[in-house]
Symmetry: C2
Subunit: 81 residues, 2 copies
DNA sequence: TTGTGACTTCTAGTCCGTT
DNA sequence: AAACGGACTAGAAGTCACA
């Protein structure tokens, strides 16, 4: 047997991708630009862009800021749909 | 906003507290020490201790590492019970 | 409007300890 | 076993110019 993704969840950094997908989805639902989301949560526009492209290892405090701005609970941003 | 050490329940970083509670609960369910959890997820035992005391702003990649070690999905660590 | 690389500042995270 | 401290290094935060 091989240890390839045999656990309940995969072994890599897949939650970054889930987070990115959810942020983009919720932001576009509101028809917000990255700049507007950045303004709403007090983060720089380019920081949002990096997170949406999975180019940054974001911290839990900033996840909470973005979740609050988007009107969801932080855990919902990490949950794949 | 940036050098807040740790004031639990202060406006803002409540998800840190939820995360901490969940990690402690799941770790103790397994009867693991902080050192053992640290070993299982490849993080230092003192860092686990800080996270459990809400004294560190952990990144999403490390949330995923801890979740994997505890056998749950990352979003479950952020969900208050 | 968004993507990206690069840069500085400051904290995350490690490792050595003691209480 | 866990809290806490000091001193370090790795890396996230935050910003910018430009594509």
């Amino acid at each position: 047997m091989r240890n390839v993704i045999s656990s309940p969840q995969s072994a890599g950094f897949t939650v970054r991708a889930i987070l990115a997908t959810n942020i983009v989805m919720l932001r576009e639902q509101k028809e917000w630009s990255q700049e507007m989301l950045g303004f709403e949560c007090g983060l720089h526009r380019t920081f949002i862009a990096h997170v949406e492209r999975q180019a940054r290892n974001i911290s839990i405090d900033n996840i909470e800021k973005i979740a609050t701005a988007l009107g969801v609970e932080p855990y919902q941003l990490l949950k794949s749909t």
